[in-house]
Chain length 551, copies 2
Amino acid sequence: MGKGAIVTAHPLAGGQRCRQVALPGRALPQPIRIAPPNIPPAPSSSLLFSSGSLASRCYPSIRSIPIPLSRSAPLRPLAAAALVPRRVGAARRAISRRRVGALLLLLQNSKCSNLSLKSTSKRQKKSYVTCASAAVQGQKQTPLTGSQEVSGHSSSKPKKVMVIGGDGYCGWATALHLSNKGYEVAIVDNLVRRLFDHQLGLDSLTPITSIQNRVRRWKSLTGKTIQLFIGDICDFDFLSEAFKSFEPDAAVHFGEQRSAPYSMIDRSRAVYTQHNNVIGTLNVLFAIKEYSEECHLVKLGTMGEYGTPNIDIEEGFITITHNGRTDTLPYPKQASSFYHLSKVHDSHNIAFTCKAWGIRATDLNQGVVYGVRTDETAMHEELSNRFDYDGVFGTALNRFCVQAVVGHPLTVYGKGGQTRGYLDIRDTVQCVELAIANPAKPGEFRVFNQFTEQFSVNDLAKLVTAAGAKLGLDVQTKSVPNPRVEAEEHYYNAKHTKLIELGLEPHLLSDSLLDSLLNFAVQYKDRVDTAQIMPSVSWKKMGAKPRTVSV
Amino acid sequence: MGKGAIVTAHPLAGGQRCRQVALPGRALPQPIRIAPPNIPPAPSSSLLFSSGSLASRCYPSIRSIPIPLSRSAPLRPLAAAALVPRRVGAARRAISRRRVGALLLLLQNSKCSNLSLKSTSKRQKKSYVTCASAAVQGQKQTPLTGSQEVSGHSSSKPKKVMVIGGDGYCGWATALHLSNKGYEVAIVDNLVRRLFDHQLGLDSLTPITSIQNRVRRWKSLTGKTIQLFIGDICDFDFLSEAFKSFEPDAAVHFGEQRSAPYSMIDRSRAVYTQHNNVIGTLNVLFAIKEYSEECHLVKLGTMGEYGTPNIDIEEGFITITHNGRTDTLPYPKQASSFYHLSKVHDSHNIAFTCKAWGIRATDLNQGVVYGVRTDETAMHEELSNRFDYDGVFGTALNRFCVQAVVGHPLTVYGKGGQTRGYLDIRDTVQCVELAIANPAKPGEFRVFNQFTEQFSVNDLAKLVTAAGAKLGLDVQTKSVPNPRVEAEEHYYNAKHTKLIELGLEPHLLSDSLLDSLLNFAVQYKDRVDTAQIMPSVSWKKMGAKPRTVSV
C-alpha cells in the first residue's frame, strides 16, 4: 500500500481493501497548501476520517484508518492545517481517547480559514471536527438569491442547510441547487455510496470526481462555499460536532442506504440497511433536539412505503370512518424490501418525536427519480452527478435509456404492470427547496408525496422505444423473471398535490426530455458495462449467508 | 474479582462491572459433576458466553468474558463437560477464530448427555453451541399432555418450542407452561434483563434464582428438561447454531428490551432498544428462513403499537373504503415510545417476510400483564417469577399493589384516563400455547390482540383502593405529573376476539384475584425499595447525553 492512499475496509467486503482517493477515471485533485496565520502547518498531510462510529462498532470490518499523506506522495488531494494535530499518531491517540469520529478537510484559503477558525474556536477544545470548504483566494460570496424571498426569510443572514448524504445522486444535485439559491450549505457524508460501487464492481455511467474536487470546483465557478463534514451519522459524537459547528436551520436527510436490491442481497446487507438508516435518523433527531431545536428536518422517504393498496394513496394520512367514528390516522404502510421498510421505520420514529419533542419535520415520500443534469451540475464536468444504470442502484428509466443505446433489450420485470410515481431530478431539488422555504411548524409531522407523474414499467418501455426510434435506435423489450416479490398488475392512484400547492413547476417526461436522456446515454455509451445491467438479486432466494460478487 | 465470578461489562454502564452469577438474595446453585462416557471431563469448570455478537460489536462495552470457574471456588453453578474445550485459553482462541458466539452449559446427567451428544455430534465440528438441561439422574421425561391434543399433533414426537427471552417475566412463565404441557422447550436468553436491574439499582420484589437453578429445579420436580442457550440473538452465528441444534417447530420471541421508560432514558438506551429489538427480530426471521423454514414465529408485539385512535382498534388489519374503493390494510400505527416503535418496526418487517419468503407468523399484540403466579411457578420458590414494581419496568397494576401495601400513594400519571388492555400472566401463557397449537399457515401474517379486559388507570386505582380496604389497608391515590407524552382522556375500544375463538378462557380481574395480588405484595413487603417507585424518566426531557443513575 503506497503512501498517500486512504485505506478503507468494509463490512460487506470481508476485509477487502480499496483506495478511496484514487478513484479510477477521476481527475486527480490538486494539492492546496495552507498556512493560516498563527497556526503552523501540519508536518504531513492528513485525512482523518470518522472513527468509532456506531456502524463501525457494529460492523467491525468497517474501519476508517487515518494514514499520513506524504508531501511527496503522488496522490495528495488535501493539505492539512490548523486543527489537524501535528502528528497523526497523536491524533489517533486523541481520537481514540475521545471516541470522537472526526474528519477534517482543510481546504480553506487563509481568509476562509480565519473565519472558520474564529467561528469554531470554542469547539476546538472539544473536538477535531470542523468544516472544510473549497476556496479560491480572493473570491467573495455572491449575493443571496431567490430562496430568501420564497421563504420569507427577511434577515440578511442566509438560511443554513445541512445536506446529509450530499455526495449522492439526489444529495449532490440538491446541495448545489440550494447553494445556488443562496442558502449556506454544508454536506455531511461518509462517502460509503462510493465504496458500494467498488465492492459490487459497479460504476456510474458518468465520470464523477471526488467530493473535495466537486466543492472546490463549485467555489471556483460561483464563489459559493459548501462546507464538508466527512463522517458517519451513526457516530453520534461526529454528528453532534457537525451540528454544533454548523448550527443548521434545516437538515435535509438523504444519508441512507437507498437501494432496495442492495438491502436484499443477503442478511448482512439487510441488517446494515436497517441499522444504518434507522439509527442514523434517530441520531439526527437527537442532534436536532439537543443542539438545534428549531431546525427543520426534511427527510427523504419513499413512495414505496405505501406499497400498492387497492385504494387511493393519500399524502401521509388518511381519514377513516369505522363503526360510526372517524379519525385521521397515518396511512397504512406495506413496504416491499428491507430498504423500503427502513423508511417506514424512520417515518414512525420521526412522527413520534414531532409529537413528543416538538420536532418540525417534512417527510418527502419520493417517487423514482430519473435524469441527471440540473442547471448546476451542467456547469462543469467536475460537477457531474452520478448516473446509475446497474441492476442494484439503477432506477428504471435511467436503466432503460442506457439499455436502449447499447442495444440491450429493455429488461421489464415480469408482466411490467408495476406502476409507480416518477419525477425528474430537477424537480427533486425544487421540491426540497420548497419544503425548506416553507418549513413545518414546531411539532408538525408533514408528509408530501414527491413525484409528478405515474407510469407503469410497460409505459416506460414504450416511451423509450418510441424515443429511441426517433434517434434511429432499434429498441427491443424483454420480459425477465421478476426478481422482486410485488404485484405486477394492480390499482395505483397516489395523490401529489401538496408540493404543487407550494409552487412546484414540474418537468414532465415529454419526448424531448426523453430524447435528451437518450442522447446523454449515447454520450457516455463507451463507459457502459453491460454485465451490470441484469438483475442479480432475488427477493425470494436471498439468504442468511454473506454473498460475494463473482468477477 | 474472585474466582468463579462471571464478569460482564455493559454498554450502558460505561464499563461498570457486575457479578452475574452471585446475584444477591439468590440461592446458590449446587454443582453437578458430569463425566459422559468416552469423553473425559474438562479439567476446570467453564462458562462460555456468546461473544462477537452484533450488539457487542455495536456497543463495545458489552463483553461476555469466559472465565474459568475453579473447582474450589465458592460459586460453582455448573460443571463443564464434553464439548467444553479442555483449556479455556484454547476455547477463547477457537471462538475468536470462528467468531462463533457460544455458550455452553452442560448440566446433563450422563443419560441426557448421551442423547445430547448423539444428537449434536454432527455439530461439534462446527460450533461450540450445544444445549444444556437440568437433570436429576434417573428421572424420566413425563408423558406428554394436553398440547398435542390441542394442536392435533398426532406423532409421538413432541413439538419443539424455542422460547427466546425465556428468562424474563413473561418468557419464564411461558417456558414452564409449555414444558408442563408436553412441549420440548429450549430457552434462548442473554440474561441482559438481569443486568438492567444491576445498572439501574432495581430488583424484583420476588427473589429469583439463576436461570440455571430454575431449569434444574424444574427438572427435579417434573422430570422435564428445558434446554438452555445463553447468548445474544443479535449475534447471528450464535442464533444459527441454536437453531441448527434445536430445530424448533415454533419460536416464541419475547427476547426484546420491553420497557417504554427504559427506551426513553437517554439516546443510548433508545438506540440500544431499537437496534436490539429490530436486528434481533431480523436475525430470527433469517434463521427461520435458513434453517427451519416450517418454524412458526410467535412474536410478542404490544397493544401500544396502535396508540389511542379515535376509532375501534381491530386485530392487526382494517378494511377501509375510500373514494369508492375498498381494501384491507395493516391497521395504522401510532406508537408512543422508542420501545413501542421498535415493535411497530418488527411488525412491518415480519409482515414483509411472510409475503416474500412464506414465513408463518403470529404477532401477539399484548396488553399490560399483571400477576406473577402461574400453576408452574407456584410449584417451588426457585421457580418464582420476577415481579417488577419500579418506575421503569413495573407495570401499572403490579406497581399499585406494591404501593398499596407499603402505604405509598398510588401514583396516577396525569388525569388517569389512560385506558389500555390488561391480562393476567396466566392468560399470557395460555395465549402463547394457543397460538403455537394452532399455527399460522405458511406465508400468513396473523395478528391477535392479546388482552382480556380494558381499564383506565383511574379504574385500577379504584379497584386497588377497594380491595385494599378489605384487607384493612388505607390506600391513597396521588396524581403525579405525567412523565409520558400521551392522551390522558381518550376513546379506547380494542377488539380481542381471535384468541377467545381459539379457546382462551380468561382469568378476569375479580376482587379475589386482586386480593391475592395484594396478599402477595404483603408477603414480600420487606423487600420493597420505595425509592424505585416514582417515575424517573421524562419523555420530554430525555436527552442525547448518557444519563447515569444517582445513588
